[in-house]
Symmetry: C2
Subunit: 216 residues, 2 copies
């Protein structure tokens, strides 16, 4: 199987992280947004939605939404529980991540720390910030409630693809100029994920590049 | 099982629609946003995310994201295929709906047709419109590609919860001041869903209330 990604995409990081946690080896084709790779015909033919990551199977079939790729890779593992209720709980938090959590955090990170083309005082950035804070507060409340019933993870009593999906953009919140100090349950949960066997950061071997707001 | 909904929510309509297509009877508690029901403590205790729909099981457990509710109700039916690859394809389009399709269409509908508190020329509405058009173009392209391989549905060769999830906000696009004439594959697909046994519109028995832009 081959993963088409970029090094900096949080959505691609989810997939690389799950593969490592599962011990699955993925071949990689790493594209560059800056070089315009995602606008090239060759890429758009592989993914009509025009986004990374893309997972290509050996028989040529392709998946191109991180949620779908995570679910496919997790087949048969604890990261995608077999029970119908548990799957619905996992999907609740995958949906929350896609609809409410990722967009404000990813947009703030993109413009404030990667492109440096906006100020946090700009109207569009100022509108995204409360959305990002609200999502993090909801995650904090969920993790606190889970701890109360003796569970350390977002959707089940084991780590699932919901934890993997919520991890990258939460971890990179400081790049969105949002500090995580006020979310203690979130911080504990981040550390718990980082202690899982196989965990790797965004730029393995380049800790200075991981979450620096001066990253190019 | 009890569904907590509002009459006008597209996310709640997805759940009522799937239940009817499956022949499952749901008890209903229908709240009113205008009456402030969604801000009341009683409701927030039932759903910490503060949104409808909520599905309450007879044993008191609750699900509160439409994607998760659809998946739970569809267990064992063709609407949630058992094959791992097919599930990933369904999730691709559920994710697309949550991350790219629903938000601009729902926001435009809310402000231009329900609240009447914005003009289509306002900056925030003008920014949402290209996002909504782009999502509809991607749906049109997908349905056209599916027709080319002999399939009439978004994610599989049978209707799945991906079709059910994408239906309401696509159908209500005219309330977002977006006409569907330029999306022939989308129009054919909408008619195909409306021909499924059990289909019911947003306001059964009140066709004048369904998609009128003057709706209160």
């Amino acid at each position: 199987m081959r993963l088409i990604d970029t090094q900096r995409s949080g959505n691609a990081w989810k997939v690389r992280l799950l593969a490592r946690l599962l011990g699955v080896t993925l071949e990689r084709t790493t594209l560059s947004i800056d070089a315009g790779d995602l606008r090239k015909t060759e890429f758009l033919e592989r993914n009509p939605l025009g986004q990374i990551p893309v997972l290509e199977l050996d028989d040529g079939r392709r998946l191109y939404e991180s949620m779908a790729i995570l679910r496919y890779l997790a087949e048969g593992s604890e990261f995608w529980p077999s029970d119908s209720w548990c799957q619905a709980e996992v999907l609740t938090w995958l949906s929350f991540e896609q609809a409410q959590h990722m967009r404000p955090l990813a947009q703030l990170r993109l413009h404030l720390s990667l492109k440096h083309d906006r100020q946090s005082s700009d109207a569009d950035m100022a509108a995204l910030r409360p959305e990002a804070l609200h999502a993090l507060q909801q995650l904090e409340a969920r993790l606190t409630a889970q701890e109360r019933v003796g569970t350390s993870w977002v959707a089940a009593d084991v780590p699932t693809i919901a934890d993997v999906a919520l991890y990258p953009y939460t971890r990179m919140a400081p790049m969105a100029q949002i500090e995580l100090d006020v979310y203690p349950a979130v911080q504990t949960w981040l550390a718990r994920i980082e202690a899982l066997p196989g965990y790797a950061p965004l730029y393995p071997g380049r800790p200075d590049m991981n979450y620096a707001t001066t990253e190019i």
